[in-house]
């Protein structure tokens, strides 16, 4: 099969026409924005504060992208259908690996462009370096996401964390990191990024070229997860009807992942007691409170330091204050939102279906109750963080009070809305015995992921605006209440949930 046809075939198996069109549209919009910003920058250069804002934003965004592959990442693995059909074609392994890689890059490239690709020019990076760096970042993230998926969750996370940790040393003027070009170290920064990209791409391509050998195991071989046998069993002896659902969901946090690593394939399903998850969140929240308080006492995380950003003067202290703000005030709630308002409902809907077949409950009632429990779970899990931010806010750490309503009102509301949208538009494939059902990314999925990413930015911008006294903490309350109001119809009515249940069945859930 000629290389171009192979690439087209691989892209077609990953992306629907709508998704492809939407991704290309986003990429074009972002490129146009970049060009327009470059021209407007030539007319009126941005203040040092604004430049620092974009630098912080890009570093922050890169860290997020490295740590949590976007929904596109879900498709960046070798599919069961690849093993069954693509690998049996008489194609040179090198061509096969390249075709898979290019298809992945199309997805990751557009996502990268959508979130980080255009601001380098605003930072004053010369156009040539900006172009080279953007291209390298796309290739680096493509390779990283594939390698992370390939290594499996634990080892993949370790690799991502190591890369993020190294990249963050750019904040303390380290010229040799993958993101140092953003900080004015054009030559060493670009060379470092090129070296990291080359290493990851070599690893990714070599594994993809050997895919038919690496992935030739029987996929239906059952996994035996840790704790599969024994352990504290749940009993439903004392509950009936929907109370059983409440008992299940308020006892356990369930997560499901489709896994296709050389060692194992199938579905990895995790469960943890809600109480244990709450204790973990409390430990994280306490550590965060201590870190925030110490930074505040050291005059790093102060209102004055943050306000320096919006002034004409570029001071080191304001930059450090901004980075501390990102790490302590903006980043943890955003990550908590990804976990408790997006991954939690997505995993639940992906794992859900047996009740449809095996129970006599009215679907609308069950689904609405399930959504309300998602709201409650998300609220409970965010209480420790909210308490920490309330304490930090009371001792004067900027922006922290604004985070409290976001965590206690907005995040649970988004969790409920996300639960509903995931079910109604069948945004996640059903997690089956053999892992995630093989599926293409649809236009709806791309749209929903971009929408949810935009909501995620609210977790970042609202506390920042509040900290800078633009709107104050009241702004955060208004934003949170707006989300609660949007979630209210879903709390009160069964009709849409009933439709969602029918959609799940029509969309392939059986």
């Amino acid at each position: 099969m000629p290389a171009l046809r192979l690439i087209r075939f691989v892209i077609k198996t990953r992306l629907s026409g709508g998704a492809l069109a939407l991704l290309l549209f986003v990429a074009l919009v972002m490129l146009a924005t970049g060009l327009s910003m470059t021209f407007s920058k030539a007319r009126s250069p941005p203040t040092p504060g604004a430049t620092e804002f974009f630098r912080g934003y890009m570093t922050f965004m890169l860290a997020i992208l490295m740590l949590a592959p976007l929904p596109a990442g879900a498709q960046m693995s070798v599919l069961k259908s690849d093993r069954d059909y693509l690998f049996t074609l008489p194609v040179r392994p090198r061509d096969l690996g390249l075709a898979l890689y290019i298809a992945y890059m199309l997805l990751s490239g557009v996502y990268t462009l959508a979130f980080i690709g255009v601001y380098e020019l605003v930072l004053g990076v010369p156009p040539l370096y900006a172009a080279i760096n953007t291209a390298l970042l796309i290739v680096m993230l493509t390779s990283l996401w594939h390698v992370v998926m390939d290594l499996g969750r634990r080892r993949g996370l370790l690799l991502s964390l190591a890369l993020v940790g190294w990249s963050l040393t750019a904040l303390v003027k380290d010229p040799v990191t993958p993101v140092s070009a953003l900080y004015g170290y054009y030559v060493p920064g670009t060379l470092t990024l090129a070296a990291v990209t080359a290493a990851l791409t070599y690893l990714s391509l070599s594994r993809l070229s050997r895919a038919p050998l690496l992935y030739s195991f029987p996929i239906s071989e059952p996994l035996r997860p840790k704790g599969a046998e024994g352990g504290g069993l749940l009993s439903f002896q004392d509950v009936r009807g929907l109370r059983a659902l409440v008992k299940l969901r308020m006892s356990l946090v369930q997560l499901g992942f489709g896994t296709r690593t050389p060692e194992a394939a199938g579905v990895e399903v995790g469960r943890a007691r809600l109480l244990r998850a709450l204790v973990t969140m409390s430990v994280v929240a306490a550590a965060l409170a201590v870190a925030g308080y110490v930074l505040h006492r050291l005059d790093v995380l102060t209102l004055e330091a943050l306000r320096g950003l919006s002034s004409e003067q570029n001071s080191t202290s304001s930059f450090e204050g901004f980075i501390a703000f990102l790490l302590v005030v903006a980043f943890p709630p955003m990550y908590s939102m990804i976990l408790t308002a997006m991954e939690l409902p997505t995993a639940f809907v992906g794992l859900e279906r047996p009740w449809l077949a095996f129970t006599s409950l009215e679907p609308g009632n069950y689904m609405r109750s399930s959504g309300l429990i998602t709201f409650a779970q998300s609220l409970i899990l965010n209480v420790p963080l909210a308490l920490s931010y309330a304490v930090l806010g009371l001792v004067g750490v900027p922006g922290c009070l604004a985070v409290v309503p976001l965590l206690l009102i907005m995040v649970p509301s988004v969790a409920l809305i996300s639960h509903f949208l995931t079910a109604y538009f069948v945004l996640t494939p059903q997690i089956k015995f053999e892992g995630l059902a093989t599926t293409r990314v649809s236009g709806k999925q791309v749209f929903a992921s971009l929408l949810l990413m935009s909501v995620m930015f609210g977790m970042f911008t609202v506390p920042l605006l509040s900290a800078l006294s633009i709107g104050g903490p009241v702004l955060s309350l208004y934003v949170s209440i707006a989300f609660l109001v949007a979630a209210l119809p879903l709390m009160l009515t069964r009709g849409p949930w009933r439709r969602a249940a029918l959609n799940l069945v029509e969309g392939g859930y059986s």
């Binding site: 997860p225 009807g241 449809l356 095996f358 006599s360 409950l361 029509e506």
Partner: protein, 238 residues
């Protein structure tokens, strides 16, 4: 009153028709096989009867009730989906107790134990579903479909993934049940062992209904029953 009534049912997935005016009935206590080629609409029919889908036109009734609007009738329906996947994060026992509790049955623990003994699931009771073999998952799915002793049993390829000894056990358990059966299958021997009547559909329409005996009478000398079915399905056209 018919236990199962399907009358002039039309169902589309988007613009693709799955059922185009399907009609048939199953009397109370009847044991019927739902036969048809791939894409005939068998799974859609079972999902409609289980109340998981809503027809675009026509009437679907189970024990005289609409399973979508009058969901109380689902108390009496047992449904085994094709490729059933119980809760992967729960153990075998937890799945059974949970579904029994959701159904509001008395003593979920007792029900779970009874059905585990019936289907040989005791030794796996503390295993999570994600750790079971596909055959044992199917065994659990059958247990979940019959835990409430349903009056109407809708089975989609019930013997899939099961080894021969387990198939024998399952056939024996199901044969002893006092319920109305509608069994979708491609395998004539499975249909023959679990049912005595046939509803044959193709392209979303009924093409033939009768007993196994009627079908055998239609065979030429020494012609296997599978050939008769194949001939009938082919004659139904595309």
């Amino acid at each position: 009153m018919a236990a199962i009534l399907v009358k002039d049912v039309v169902k589309f997935y988007g613009s693709t028709p799955a059922l185009r005016g399907l009609s048939f009935e199953v009397p109370e206590g009847g044991r019927y096989a739902l036969l048809g080629p791939n894409g005939a609409g068998k799974t859609t029919t079972l999902r409609l009867l289980a109340g998981l889908l809503k027809p675009d036109a026509g009437v679907v009734r189970v024990l005289g009730k609409d399973p979508v609007e009058d969901y109380e009738v689902k108390r009496y329906i047992g449904y085994l989906p094709e490729d059933a996947t119980p809760y992967l994060a729960l153990t075998v026992r937890e799945n059974l107790e949970y579904i029994a509790a959701l159904r509001g049955l008395d003593d979920p623990r007792d029900r779970a134990e009874k059905v585990m003994d019936l289907l040989g699931l005791r030794k796996y009771e503390r295993y999570r579903v994600s750790a079971l073999s596909r055959g044992n998952v199917q065994r659990l799915a059958i247990a979940l479909a019959i835990i409430h002793e349903p009056k109407v049993l809708l089975l989609d390829e019930p013997l899939n993934y099961l080894d021969i000894p387990t198939q024998e056990e399952v056939v024996s358990v199901l044969s002893k049940m006092n319920a109305t059966f509608l069994v979708s299958t491609h395998i004539m021997s499975v249909a023959g062992r679990l049912t005595d009547n046939i509803v044959m559909i193709a392209n979303g329409r009924l093409i033939w209904q009768g007993t196994f005996e009627d079908l055998r009478k239609m065979a030429h000398e020494e012609e296997p029953i599978e050939s008769v079915v194949a001939r009938m399905m082919r004659s139904a056209g595309p």
